[in-house]
Amino acid sequence: MSEVLVKIENLKKYFPVRSDAIINTRMNWVKAVDGVDLEIQSGETIGLVGESGCGKTTLVNVLLRLEDPTEGKMFFNGINITRLSQKALRQTIREHIQIVFQDPFWSLNPRLLVRDIVGEPLTVHQKLPLLKLIQRVEDLLEMVGLPRDSVYKYPHEFSGGQRQRIAIARALALEPKLVVLDEPTSSIDILSQAQILDLLMQLKNRLGLTYILISHDLSVVHYMSDRIIVMYLGKVVEQGPAETVFNSPVHPYTQALFHAIPSLDMNSLDELQTLEGNVPSAINPPSGCRFHTRCPQVMPVCSSVEPEMVRMDENHQAACHLLG
């Protein structure tokens, strides 16, 4: 069944930064994404996990070509999209990849009617006449569980959960193949979150979508994803089927991440595990294994040699010296 929808090879994205010196000959780079390989099958939900600053959002921004990659190759549906021009992008992939942004309070233009917000992709790509457009927008709103007469309302008339529904309707307007969900529920309440997650699952089954879900809420990722990718400082440290990664994580970072969530099964604060310090700077990432500065099981070799991806079983991989 599965065909490869997205293929990413050794993708890198560096951002230039100026150092403090006035005349500076050496350019510094923030290595936001540093050599990521990834394959996404059609119909999968990929959960992308990591602390803030680890490059999750940059990775999807590059995939959407909202940022240009520094190095590496990206294929969507077999087409190499790494260096396509903006015009060519619009003709080939824009219709098929859509995104739902993190904060529905910022991602909807407050001056536009819902009709124009949801209808904009339709106007750009399909040039529908107005009556048909309204019809289509109403259908979309109904699909995401909003009343049809919301078309003539402004975003401020809706609650957080409803706004996120509008954003989802906009993303689905062109019937895309791949939808990127960048923290879709991080700014809404737990009950609205449950509704949105349920809606996303239904839509996926009905429309045969592929999702990339970014979230720092691991329970959300666990609930939604088929496969989980854990990133740390621009690199993938562990990836595998959701159940495997959740039940038996092998990388110390993944383990730490999972033990830091206060869950309903914990009884006291002592069961919470903390990681010392913050994510190190991506300008000068630590040598060797990037996690060695915070790793509870650090060994001498970790600071000098960068670990290779080790295959645990067919689908489950992790990059750590402990496994080698």
């Binding site: 997650l197 959300v220 730490a256």
Partner: protein, 322 residues
């Protein structure tokens, strides 16, 4: 002599153009000395208003306290004048950690200046003594390299570090009662765990009582001895957190807990968008409640003891469950 901290029949409203809108209506809530109490609710439930009312910081003239008593160590805080609150309570005995570590600190002053200012004002320390106290505080919140930290501006710090500074400011005057208003919102899980542990350690070390506000049941479960569930300004369930969370009796609490995604195979339960019209005089949860009966629309249920220390405000509690 009553409890150490106790709220009785507190009713708070906000003036709007359409008249006074009730925001809080809490029959009873009590915290013993040195204990932690967690308040959980959705946004708009009145969690922050509760915190502000206790500290006497309700926005004026919009916020009105209709009735009620807030007893703190034998004194009714609502009867105190602004002057008394400022001089004897706020900051000195009662203190608060505010919600958003990104915007609580003033961006144009260094961290050191901001902590010093509070120490100077509240404890009348000057010069050397003041700096010494500030360094002590930074040590208490486990910030390494304290001296260089003093000269930094908030934008140079990470979210976790900022939250630690805010905790240092809150603790600067040795308060015994701490209100933590979603202290880990917007923080990463790993940082969140660190901040929670820190507050937990400080609570034990200084024997503080903590009123912990959260929108996440999981946090309250690990952090608090007792917990209360707030729905539209009303405490609907109250008791030891283990009981409230694992043996929830109120349909709202049950819904809240089952809405937390856990396993893929499990279906999430949630209250769908308004099913019934609002009940003017009835239970505030009537319109979203799945098990509500006709009687629920006519009368407001009171908090009643149901299972040892657990209290529930629901006519149907225990009789039926989801």
């Amino acid at each position: 002599m009553g409890k150490y901290f106790e709220i009785k029949n507190l009713a708070v409203g906000f003036k709007t153009f359409e008249g006074i809108r009730p925001v809080l209506n809490i029959e009873s809530l009590s915290i013993n000395r040195g204990e932690t109490y967690g308040v959980v609710g959705e946004s708009g439930a009145g969690k922050t208003v509760l915190a502000l009312t206790i500290l006497g910081l309700l926005p004026k003239p919009a916020g009105i306290v209709h009735s009620g008593e807030i007893w703190f160590d034998g004194q009714d805080l609502l009867k105190k004048t602004e002057q008394e609150l400022y001089e004897n309570y706020r900051g000195k005995r009662l203190t608060m950690i505010f919600q958003d570590p990104m915007s609580t600190l003033n961006p144009v002053f260094t961290v050191g200046q901001q902590i010093e200012r509070v120490v100077q004002k509240q404890q009348n320390l000057k010069g050397e003594m003041c700096t010494k106290r500030v360094l002590e505080l930074l040590d208490v919140v486990q910030l390494p390299d304290a001296r260089s930290m003093l000269k930094k501006y908030p934008h140079e710090l990470s979210g976790g570090q900022r939250q630690r500074i805010i905790i240092a400011i809150a603790l600067s005057c040795g308060a015994e009662f701490l209100i933590a208003d979603e202290p880990t919102r917007n923080l990463d899980v790993t940082i969140q765990a660190g901040i929670l542990k820190l507050i937990g350690e400080l609570q034990k070390e200084f024997k503080m009582s903590v009123l912990f506000i959260a929108n996440n049941v999981g946090l309250v479960n690990v952090f608090c001895k007792n917990a209360g569930i707030l729905y539209r300004g009303k405490l609907v369930e109250d008791g030891p957190s283990a009981q409230v969370i694992h043996e929830a009796k109120h349909p709202y609490t049950q819904t809240l807990i089952s809405a937390i995604p856990r396993l893929k195979s499990e279906k999430l339960k949630f209250a769908s968008i308004v099913i019934k019209p609002e009940a003017e005089q009835g239970c505030p949860y009537y319109s979203r409640c799945i098990i509500a009966e006709e009687g629920c629309a006519r009368q407001v249920p009171m908090l009643e003891t149901i299972n040892g220390a657990q209290k529930v405000a629901c006519f149907l509690a225990g009789r039926r469950s989801l």
